[in-house]
C-alpha cells in the first residue's frame, strides 16, 4: 500500500515535470523552426519541420536590423554601466558602513527608500533633466542614468555584506601602514567579490534587456541597442514573420549564450541577492 502510493507519487511528479518542461520548450521550437522557413510555409503549417532551410532569412534580418551595430551598442552600454555601478556602489557602501555617522545613516535610509520608486514615476521629468544636462541621444548619458537608477539596490546589497566583514582585518592593514584608500582597494574590495558578482549579474540582466529608458534617451539609428532595434523592426515590418523570427533569434542568442556559460554565477547570484531583499 505504502509503496504503491509512493510509486504513483513519483510517477505523478515525473509527468508534471515532463509536461512543464515541454511547455517551457515548445515556444523555442516554434521560434527556431519557423525562423528558417519561407513566409508561405510558416502560414501553411507553423508546427512542421522545415522542408527547405531558408538560411537567407538570417542574412536579411542581420542587415535590416544592423545587428552588429546593435550588439556592439548593447555590449558597451551594459559593460560600462555594470562596472561603474559596482565600483561606485562598493565605495559608497563601504563608507556608509564604516563611518556610521548620523548623516550616513540618513543617506542609507534614503537609498533604501528610493528603491520603492518605480521608474515610470520619474521618467517624464527625468527626460527634462537629461535635456537640461545636454546628455540626450548619447551613450554616456544613458550610462549616467543607469548609474543613478542602479546604485540604490547595489548599495543595499553591498551594505549588508560589508557589515558582516570583521573590522580587525582592516585595522591590521592600517597598523601595517596602509592608507585609508589602500585599505579599500587592496583589502576590502577583493573581499567583496561574492556580493560584487551578484550585483554585476543582476545589473547586467536588467541593463541588457531594458527597453524603456534607452528608447526615451537614444534617437539616432546608429546608437540603437538590441531591444530598440527589434522594436523598430516590428514597427516597420508587421506580419513578416520570415524576417521577424530570425531577428528575434539573433536578439536572444547573446544573452542565452551568456546565461549558459555563467549559469552557476547567475543562479547563485539571484539566490544571494534575494536573501537580502
Amino acid at each position: 500500500m505504502e509503496r504503491t502510493a509512493t510509486r504513483s507519487l513519483i510517477a505523478l511528479r515525473l509527468i508534471v515535470l515532463a509536461l512543464m518542461g515541454l511547455l517551457f520548450l515548445v515556444p523555442f521550437y516554434f521560434l527556431l523552426v519557423n525562423s528558417v522557413k519561407s513566409l508561405g510555409d510558416i502560414l501553411t503549417n507553423a508546427a512542421a519541420w522545415p522542408e527547405v532551410f531558408h538560411w537567407g532569412n538570417y542574412e536579411k534580418a542581420w542587415k535590416i536590423t544592423r545587428f552588429p551595430q546593435a550588439l556592439f551598442n548593447s555590449f558597451i552600454i551594459t559593460l560600462t554601466s555594470i562596472v561603474l555601478i559596482a565600483l561606485f556602489s562598493a565605495m559608497a557602501a563601504y563608507r556608509l558602513v564604516r563611518a556610521n555617522t548620523r548623516l550616513n545613516r540618513i543617506l542609507f535610509m534614503t537609498f533604501v527608500a528610493a528603491m520603492v520608486i518605480p521608474f515610470q514615476s520619474i521618467m517624464i521629468p527625468l527626460m527634462q533633466v537629461v535635456r537640461f544636462l545636454g546628455i540626450g541621444d548619447s551613450i554616456p548619458g544613458l550610462v549616467l542614468c543607469y548609474l543613478g537608477l542602479g546604485v540604490p539596490l547595489s548599495i543595499f546589497l553591498l551594505h549588508g555584506f560589508i557589515k558582516s566583514i570583521p573590522l580587525e582585518i582592516e585595522e591590521a592593514a592600517v597598523v601595517d601602514g596602509a592608507s585609508p584608500y589602500g585599505v579599500f582597494w587592496r583589502i576590502v574590495l577583493p573581499m567583496l567579490k561574492p556580493m560584487l558578482v551578484t550585483v554585476i549579474i543582476l545589473n547586467s540582466l536588467w541593463v541588457w534587456n531594458d527597453y524603456l529608458l534607452p528608447s526615451l534617451i537614444l534617437q539616432s539609428q546608429e546608437l540603437r541597442t538590441i531591444p530598440i532595434a527589434t522594436f523598430a523592426f516590428f514597427g516597420q515590418y508587421t506580419k513578416q514573420w520570415d524576417l521577424a523570427l530570425p531577428t528575434l533569434v539573433l536578439g536572444i542568442t547573446p544573452i542565452v549564450v551568456f546565461f549558459l556559460f555563467m549559469q552557476r554565477y547567475i543562479v547563485e547570484g539571484i539566490a544571494a541577492g534575494s536573501v537580502k531583499g
Binding site: 517551457f24 528610493a114 514615476s121 533633466v129 548609474l147 524603456l212 551568456f258 547567475i266
Partner: protein, 293 residues
C-alpha cells in the same frame, strides 16, 4: 586634529560623492520635479507651465475611463500573476529539490526564459499566440487554441498572464530552491520518523520555514506585475481599444503620445503612492509570519 577631520571629510566626498550626485540628478530631482509638474498643465514645452492646483487629479479620478480601466486591468493582472507565478515557481522548486536524474538540466530549462528581456519575449509569444496556437488548433481541434488570441480583451489579458508566468516562475524557483535546501535535514527526518505525511511536512515544516523566501518572492512579483510594461507593449500594445493597457503603459501614452506631461506626472504620482503602499503593507504582513527553525 584638524587634518584628521579634513581627511574624514575628504573620504566622505571621495567615497560617497559620485554616487550621491548620480542619485540626486537621476532620481531625487526628477521625483521632486514630478510632484511639482503634477499640479500644472505642462505640455512638455518649457516656458508654458501654468499652475492648475488639483485639476489633474480631479480629472484622473472622475473623468478618465482609460486610466480607471488600466487601474483595474493592472490590479487583476497583479493578483492573478502573483498567485500563478508563485505557485508554479514553488511547485517546480519543491519537485526539483528531490534527488532525481536530469534535475540540473530541468532547472536550466525553467530558468532560461528569465534571462530574455520582456520586449523580445513578448514578440516571440506574439508569434506563438497568433500563428503557433492557430496551427495547434487546426491540428488538434482543441477550441482553447482556436480562440482569437490577443484579439480580444480576455485573450489579451490571459495572453500576458501566460507569458508573465512563463518568464518569471523560473526566477522564483531559484529563490525557493535555495530556501528549501536551507531547511534543516534533522527537522524533516524527525517529522518523517514521527509518521508525518508528505503534505503535513510541506504545510507544517517547509512552508513556515521558508517564509523569508516567500516574502521576497511576493515582493518581487507584486512589483514586477504592478510595473509591467515591456510585455504589454510588445504583446498587445494595450489593445484592442485600450482594454489591456497597464498603468505603466497608460502613463507612457499620456506623456509621450498625448503630450500631456502635467497629467502624466499626476498619474505617475498616484502610481508611486499605490506601489509604495502595497509594498510596505505586503512586507509588513509577510514578515510578521516568519519563524525560525
Amino acid at each position: 586634529m584638524n587634518t584628521k577631520k579634513g581627511s574624514a571629510f575628504m573620504q566622505q566626498l571621495v567615497y560617497i560623492g559620485p554616487v550621491f550626485l548620480f542619485f540626486l540628478a537621476i532620481i531625487i530631482v526628477p521625483f521632486v520635479m514630478g510632484m511639482y509638474y503634477s499640479f500644472t498643465d505642462w505640455n512638455g514645452v518649457a516656458g508654458t507651465v501654468k499652475w492648475v492646483g488639483l485639476d489633474n487629479f480631479k480629472q484622473i479620478l472622475t473623468d478618465d475611463p482609460a486610466f480607471k480601466n488600466s487601474f483595474w486591468f493592472t490590479t487583476k493582472f497583479t493578483i492573478v500573476g502573483v498567485i500563478l507565478t508563485n505557485v508554479v515557481g514553488f511547485l517546480l522548486a519543491y519537485i526539483l529539490t528531490r534527488p532525481m536524474k536530469g534535475r540540473n538540466i530541468l532547472r536550466t530549462v525553467f530558468f532560461l526564459p528569465n534571462v530574455i528581456g520582456g520586449l523580445l519575449l513578448g514578440f516571440v509569444w506574439q508569434f506563438i499566440f497568433v500563428k503557433g496556437f492557430a496551427t495547434i488548433g487546426d491540428l488538434t481541434g482543441i477550441s482553447f487554441f482556436e480562440l482569437p488570441w490577443l484579439g480580444s480583451e480576455a485573450t489579451g489579458f490571459w495572453g500576458i498572464v501566460i507569458v508573465f508566468v512563463w518568464q518569471s516562475s523560473g526566477y522564483l524557483m531559484v529563490i525557493f530552491i535555495a530556501s528549501i535546501l536551507n531547511v534543516p535535514k534533522e527537522v524533516m527526518e524527525a517529522a518523517e520518523i514521527d509518521g508525518a505525511s508528505k503534505l503535513q511536512v510541506l504545510r507544517s515544516i517547509i512552508l513556515p520555514l521558508i517564509m523569508p523566501a516567500i516574502t521576497v518572492c511576493l515582493f518581487l512579483t507584486i512589483s514586477w506585475s504592478f510595473k509591467m510594461f515591456d510585455l504589454n507593449l510588445s504583446l498587445t500594445k494595450g489593445g484592442p481599444f485600450r482594454s489591456t493597457e497597464s498603468l505603466a503603459l497608460n502613463i507612457y501614452v499620456e506623456a509621450f503620445t498625448n503630450n500631456r506631461y502635467g497629467l502624466g506626472t499626476a498619474k505617475s504620482l498616484i502610481f508611486f503612492i499605490f506601489v509604495a503602499i502595497i509594498t510596505l503593507l505586503q512586507v509588513k504582513l509577510t514578515k510578521s509570519k516568519e519563524v525560525e527553525a
